[in-house]
Symmetry: C2
Subunit: 589 residues, 2 copies
């Protein structure tokens, strides 16, 4: 069975050498988050992931969750309860949560790095506290002090978990179609009635109480997404009464089989309003950035483990000879890593992984800066970057993380297709990340239809400004020129879109996916140019091995191998407009 | 549960309107294969696929195969025995086999179309007779009359099935590493000893006898792929004795779970030589073209069913409004097919599917022409095309068929990730087709390292000649120009490679994958230009609906939307050479 080893060197290089994340400790509230402290935390997270979460990943997939229709209870796979206990006891549930309620108040960036390890080692397991985190965020920002006092301490301690109950059979993307009803009661509570689907951890045996956050409609509320309110509905009430919020069954899914994906039936379950009436979606949106970045990191984390497995395989599997003559004449064949086509798959993975990690961590660091930096101008700029990068990180990391995992599987041949090597599970698990928390098509629309427009179009301006500032620090003229070409192509495509979007919203819709890809590609270019710059400067510093640094520089070269042509392809797709997509009638498909 | 409907109109359009497959009846031996006869056969195949194979596809995946370690026997899922019986009784096992031994002697092209339906409806089931077909081909071409008389009639009748035993734990791609031994016996037979893995249908309960074709080494044979011989090893000998060829277990796989993938242990099992000593690989190669084309068709077939499901879903699922205002104001939301980004996924599928079908059938028709056309020049030209197109069809159809299925899943959101809609199974099943019968990387190497070189480089010349001949018949000047651009880009890339390949075989290896993709793209262009030409000419013919023809013309336009830029990206990748792939040391990954 392949084992996950947390890539602490790669992580630290991005954090401390490229992004200077240790500077976050200069922000009020993050004083403790210096390099030494962050390194100590990551060392502990590595141990948890390698020793507790990773060993039960495959067994969890094979066993899956069990639903008992009699009791309506769900049992998680063997070992999950104990692993969750270790997670909670280690204080990982409240890593970035408010110290006021028992959290550790660490930067979101640190949580993102820990998330990456959790997702690499056991995505299904990581999802239970992941959903709690969303609930903690929503409560912290929007709930009354009374609700906070009652629910936050146990959620933050990991004694209880949280859920997000949004989707219903007739509504996923379009939450305006929510039918679940909330009827006000005399005691200030609400009776919640309706069916929710796709509820991660809606029912499970990891903890004693589950705190559901439920979107529902008040009587007479508008029949659109502006008529939805958010409610807190606990599994058990304070007096120990079982609230009628029962699991009606589990989804049978392609992957994340150890994550209980529940149908939840609320039948006059008691709940309390969070935030204002009819502002449920707004409450959800405020925590969406961190939730979407985290889903992006799932794609990254899975791809990291797949890379480790396929790289190990490529170094060990002996098959055929190098095209230029035997490299290991003492063996019956050479390891397959000698073959250019196998290297094509490995290099593609390395370039994605390390570039995407830099992109995600950079976005996470901006999330922290946007909340905690003492200078308002810095906070605003960082917020612009987070806003524009969130859909990009979510869609790019999950799409390309999936394809990176796919390359890992392919490079292993038949072995990759069997359960023996776990890569096929990583691929199946990762398939959902491209869909949930807003499909990647929705992320693209969020980017082109919303993020490019809000604040008078300031977000892309900030993006270009910061990209050029980063480039100004790059010494390698070739990398610099390549990045400028990418930025120019992106700029031209944006101008084309601006010139055509007014006529027709469907042109925006048609451009959405390639535009997000073009943003991603351009950002990757700047990340790689920056990383290669640091690696070149530190080549003989001894901080990491020369091979480590050389690997970064060579991976950057590989990134730029076809970046320009990739950008031109995306530009051509954007500028082709909507015609060949929209001119079919439904019958002509 | 979604149901498969054989796309008989799309199939017939390619066969009879685009390729004029009815002309095959002019070839000696194919006299019966006129349009009426082929249509009648396809109608029957459609019924078999829709009514017998499709209904047990999902249940077969969920149940999987069972192995009993006591008896070493394998049980297939519920319903498979009966379905196989219907398949064999319908005469489908011997569709293209020699009439001398009870086959129907029909063109391979007809078999390919039937294969597509079988793969769409139940790939796992289709693999059992699929492997028999390989064995039938190998025996027909290489076995002694005695062996043919003894084994062909029952294989062709489907009373027995066949297997291909090539892979061993230490050797997959590199068959020179085979360790299985064959010791000559006094009675002219051989004792076969060794372990084979990945043996489809190596053991099962569908038929009474299984005929294994086994690669093994004779004593003193060279320690390379030129030292391998092919043997026939039946499960039961003529006198009813059980031959010691036992199943040691089943692989646990990502997909094709109803297909029994066996470990086979041969322990002094009795076998007979097929063909000459040490020419086992040569025997295998002669049937490789049809086997590889069939695997390509698996990718196509799975993608076809996924397209049908996702298209139906897109027309029915109501969610959000069109970006240009409600299209169905009487409903609470519009069907998602109104959205440009959903159409991007549907259109991509349609363009792949129908173009790839044309490519595969065209290659299949050339396979028939290469064997049966009375004119030697025609036979030779057709053989050139089959040789060069075989790795392209295998790799392109399985890779892009997989990504097409992936798009189907994505367009369905969370529904696609559940077992409820079967698309996730189609995706899992299709993952292996990119690996077996030679990984797609190996296909690329076969193309650039072998097919471009043999016969003095004649194959690409024939390819370009025929592509230009097809283009000469196209009236649409834009399509014509686009195709010429593709052909020019391909030609330039080939010249670049020819100019650099001499220096370094690793440059060829580095170019292999993008070169195969560039060939595929170019061929797709010519196929689409040709199909659009026929559709335009026949628009009001009444043979098919105007919507049908309009759909073809519009899909062609979508293909050409970015074809030129895609080709330029591939050219850039090829001409970037080997550097950014080979300059890493193993430690720098």
């Amino acid at each position: 069975m392949p084992q996950y080893i947390a890539p602490l060197n790669d992580m630290s290089f991005v954090l401390f050498d490229v992004l200077k994340a240790q500077d976050l400790s200069l922000c009020p509230g993050f004083e403790d988050a210096n390099e030494e402290m962050i390194r100590a935390i990551l060392d502990e997270a590595a141990k948890l992931s390698e020793n507790i979460l990773d060993p039960i990943n495959q067994s969890g997939d094979i066993e899956g969750c069990h639903y008992d229709p009699e009791t309506k209870l769900v049992t998680t796979p063997k070992g999950f309860k104990e692993a969750y206990r270790a997670f909670a006891d280690g204080g990982w549930s409240g890593l970035s949560a408010s110290p006021e309620y028992g959290g550790q108040g660490l930067p979101s960036l640190v949580k993102i790095v820990v998330d990456e390890m959790a997702c690499s080692s056991n995505l299904s397991m990581g999802m239970y506290p992941g959903l709690s985190h969303g609930a903690i965020d929503a409560l912290t920002m929007h709930a009354s002090d009374e609700l906070k006092d009652k629910y936050l301490p146990n959620l933050i301690a990991g004694e209880w978990t949280g859920t997000m109950c949004l989707t219903e059979p007739q509504c996923g993307t379009d939450l305006g179609l929510v039918r679940t009803k909330a009827e006000p009661q005399d005691d200030g509570s609400y009776n919640i009635t309706g069916t929710k689907i796709w509820i991660t951890g809606g029912e499970q045996d990891l903890v004693e109480n589950i705190v559901h956050l439920v979107l529902a409609k008040l009587p007479g509320a508008p029949d659109t997404s502006k008529g939805i309110s958010l409610f807190l509905v606990p599994k058990f009430l304070e007096d120990g009464t079982r609230n009628p919020a029962f699991c009606g069954g589990l989804e049978h899914k392609m992957g994340i089989k150890a994550s209980a994906t529940c149908v939840m039936n609320f039948e006059n379950a008691k709940g309390w309003l969070i935030g204002k009436e009819n502002e449920g979606l707004k409450c959800m949106f405020t925590m969406m950035n961190s939730a979407r970045i985290m889903v992006g990191v799932q794609g990254l984390g899975l791809a990291e483990k797949a890379y480790q497995i396929s790289l190990g395989f490529a170094k060990e599997r002996l098959q055929s000879r190098s095209l230029t003559g035997a490299k290991h004449p003492e063996e019956k064949a050479d390891p397959i890593i000698v073959h250019p086509d196998v290297r094509r798959m490995l290099t593609q993975q390395k370039v994605f992984l390390e570039g995407a990690r830099c992109m995600a961590y950079w976005t996470g660091m901006n999330l922290d800066l946007s909340e905690k930096h003492p200078d308002q101008a810095v906070r605003e700029e960082a917020d612009d970057l987070v806003q524009i990068m969130t859909p990009i990180v979510k869609a790019y990391l999950t799409d390309e993380g999936y394809f990176s995992t796919d390359q890992a599987l392919q490079s292993m041949g038949g072995a990759g297709f069997t359960q023996d090597w776990e890569v096929e599970q990583l691929l199946r698990d990762g398939r959902i990340a491209r869909i949930y928390e807003g499909t990647n098509g929705i992320q693209s629309l969020d980017l082109v239809g919303r993020k490019l427009m809000i604040k008078g179009g300031r977000l892309p301006k900030t993006y270009f400004k910061v990209m050029h500032e980063m480039l100004a620090k790059v010494d390698n003229e070739q990398h610099k020129e390549q990045c400028k070409t990418l930025l120019n192509t992106l700029q031209k495509s944006l101008m084309w879109l601006a010139g055509n979007a007014m006529q027709d919203a469907e042109i925006v819709g048609a451009a959405a996916t390639p535009m997000l890809k073009l943003f991603s590609l351009t950002t990757m270019g700047v990340m790689w140019a920056t990383m290669a710059n640091v690696a070149t400067a530190d080549l003989t510093s001894g901080k990491y091995s020369e091979d480590f640094y050389q690997g970064k520089v060579k991976a950057a070269d590989h990134f730029f191998r076809t970046a320009k042509s990739q950008a031109e392809l995306l530009q051509a797709d954007i500028e082709a407009g909507k015609e060949t997509l929209m001119n079919f009638t439904a019958e002509q498909f």
